[in-house]
């Protein structure tokens, strides 16, 4: 019995291997400098989407819809055909694209002011019709582009330029939980919430984004992934503190996880008299 041959790597091959890129630029992301503030996690989320589009091999038949908000210029960053929607209407625009050309993979990239405030009607009805589109909802608890005003998702007590004494829930209500709200609809869908404030969360968020697009590619259902994101500029804290702020203030109120899968059906109410 001969001993197994030990394959020695030649110095040339070793050099080739170590110089080969292990972390490249996704094809679905254009090689341009974005306008996002230092420490903002929009860039991370853009990359996750782009990686998933590459992985699924759908870039050439994908059309994205950018919102009004910080990501208004996302049409300059994704390497796909794009629409720029009016404020909050991205789900309606996506509906138009998808119904016009069902062969396309259609996604919207929206933020809290866009989706949770002015576009609440559009997102709920798009989800309720079961439009086979994917919504990436970036929740950073503030209006970023317009300079840090209170959003529907602003945390109780959070100081913004229009809640200078902190969000007063007796007047402004409590932050809207979009993933929970949309997952209450009967129409089958994939609804999840992730975050991107730690590497582990980024890895988990990527899985959610991938599942969301996968469901669409399979022609299954509407999918929405809410991603908790940072806004160091308008929160007025350095990026690393912003990541800690997400963990401390947002995650407890906005629990992470999968809220609805297409086979989920209705959630059973508790019986009367037993609350």
């Amino acid at each position: 019995m001969s001993s197994p041959a030990v394959l020695e790597e030649t110095p040339a091959a070793a050099s080739e291997r170590t110089r080969a890129p292990v972390f490249g630029h996704p094809e679905s992301l254009r090689q341009v400098i974005t306008h996002y503030c230092p420490g903002c996690t929009h860039g991370v989320i853009h990359r996750l989407i782009a990686e998933v589009l590459d992985e699924l091999g759908v870039r050439e038949r994908t059309v994205g819809v950018s919102p009004v908000g910080c990501a208004v210029l996302a049409y300059n960053y994704f390497n796909t055909d794009m629409h720029e929607a009016s404020h909050g209407r991205a789900p309606a625009v996506a509906t138009g694209i998808k119904r016009g050309r069902p062969d396309l993979v259609v996604f919207t990239y929206q933020e809290d002011g866009d989706l949770a405030s002015i576009g609440l009607s559009e997102i709920l009805h798009c989800a309720n019709r079961g439009e086979k589109v994917t919504v990436i909802f970036v929740n950073n608890a503030i209006y970023g582009m317009t300079g840090g005003q209170m959003a529907p998702t602003t945390m109780p007590g959070q100081v913004t330029t229009t809640s200078p004494l902190g969000r007063d829930v007796s007047l402004a209500g409590h932050p809207l939980r979009i993933a929970e709200l949309v997952s209450a609809l009967r129409t089958p869908a994939f609804i999840a919430r992730g975050a991107v404030h730690t590497p582990l969360h980024v890895v988990e968020a990527r899985r959610l984004v991938r599942r969301a697009f996968q469901y669409q590619v399979e022609g299954c259902c509407f999918s929405l992934v809410e991603l908790l994101s940072t806004c160091p500029t308008n929160w007025g804290i350095p990026p690393h503190e912003a990541c800690a702020w997400v963990e401390k203030n947002m995650v407890p109120y906005y629990p992470l996880g999968v809220f609805k899968t297409p086979d989920g059906g209705d959630r059973a109410p508790r019986p009367l008299g037993r609350e």
Partner: protein, 362 residues
């Protein structure tokens, strides 16, 4: 296809299908509900899609998406709903998207009423939403013409990459008349391919970005110049009008559009039998307005009478066309009232006999 008795709303809906439209987004509002109702059963028969949107705001933004993806798409509504759609109309004008919008006008302002009106003329012809833009507007006076103009509207939209509006008063939507439609009306042969549409980017053309945002002032001004150049072309090439009794001399020129022009024609025919010399000028394209043609037609007349179901909106364009060259008189009804042939004839006689006051400058 043989002649068929059809309601205006249904003729418009069927005409859109014959013109190759397979997609409709809309929201119910009286008095145009027969258009969505008709299309909700008819579109699936021809492989098309009907979507009842959650609002007119959403419907018009769905148009933005569908048109941006390169397909022919229609919506219809009535005055209050059209106001809600103006957000996306402005965006579609900015992003240069071809869509067809039908407005079956009802009386306003506000919720107003559901009876016929022409009180959206200024909104329709002067832009309607925010920003420097215009929308070609076509005003039919019969069910047949409503169908024809709807089919033509798709070509105009595609030719110039612009929203186009078919503007009917409530009457045109509700009345029934014989209509003849072609089995199929293919797009005009000269229409450019939609290489700008977002159909998935394979690198064989520039990346499609359907957008109306230009943050740089120079770029936005250049874009506006381009739009204005396009509107100049539209004004040059797309003026449509009709005259009756233009042969020979006439003392009075009546200007009216839509079903009011039908009423005016009845009154004029009766007066001509009595030897009164009256002619009719009917703009069909309300934007672009046939200013030159109206000015030429008014040269023969001693006076001009404008009839409208409004407090005097097209009147402004008539006065732009004529300046102070001819005295301009006006008769309008609001609230949903129609102008009867007798009422129209009486006003014509008043003007002819010098018993009418011309429109004042203030």
């Amino acid at each position: 296809m043989a002649r068929k008795l059809m309601k205006g709303t249904e003729a418009i809906a069927e005409a859109a299908i014959r013109a190759g439209c397979r997609l409709f987004f809309g929201y119910p509002i009286t008095p145009q509900n027969e258009i969505p109702e008709y299309l909700s059963h008819r579109l699936p028969q021809v492989g098309g899609t009907y979507v009842q949107a959650e609002s007119e705001v959403a419907a018009s933004n769905m148009l933005y998406g569908a048109s941006g993806a390169g397909v022919r798409v229609l919506t219809s509504s009535s005055s209050p709903g059209i106001s809600l759609m103006q957000e996306a109309v402005s965006y579609m004008a900015g992003a240069e998207l071809p869509v067809v919008i039908v407005n079956i006008m009802r009386a306003g302002p506000g919720l107003g009423g559901i009876l016929p009106s022409q009180a959206d003329y200024l909104q329709a012809t002067k832009g309607g939403g925010h920003g420097d833009y215009r929308v070609p507007v076509l005003g039919p006076w019969s069910v047949q013409e409503a169908a024809n103009l709807t089919m033509e509207a798709f070509d105009i939209a595609d030719r110039y990459r612009t929203p186009v509006m078919v503007l009917g008063d409530g009457l045109i939507g509700q009345m029934m008349e014989p209509v003849e439609l072609p089995d199929e009306r293919p797009p005009a042969p000269d229409l450019p391919p939609k290489t700008w549409a977002s159909t998935g980017w394979k690198g064989d053309r520039p990346r499609a970005v359907i957008n109306s945002l230009y943050l740089d002032a120079d770029t936005l001004e250049a874009h506006n110049r381009h739009l204005q150049q396009k509107y100049r072309q539209i004004r040059e090439r797309e003026r449509r009008f009709q005259m009756r009794f233009e042969e020979g001399d006439y003392d009075l020129l009546v200007v009216a559009y839509g079903t009011v022009a039908r009423v005016a024609l009845s009154a004029i025919e009766e007066l001509r039998e009595q030897g009164r010399r009256v002619a009719l000028f009917r703009p069909i394209s309300l934007y672009p307005y046939p200013y030159r043609e109206l000015a030429a037609a008014a040269e023969k007349a001693r006076a001009v009478l404008v009839l409208e179901l409004s407090a005097g909106q097209m009147l402004e364009d008539v006065r732009l066309a004529l300046g102070r060259s001819r005295p301009v008189h006006f008769h309008g009804r609001t609230g949903g009232h129609l102008i009867s042939p007798e009422e129209a004839a009486n006003r014509m006689v008043e003007v002819l006999e010098g018993r009418s006051q011309e429109v004042a400058d203030v």
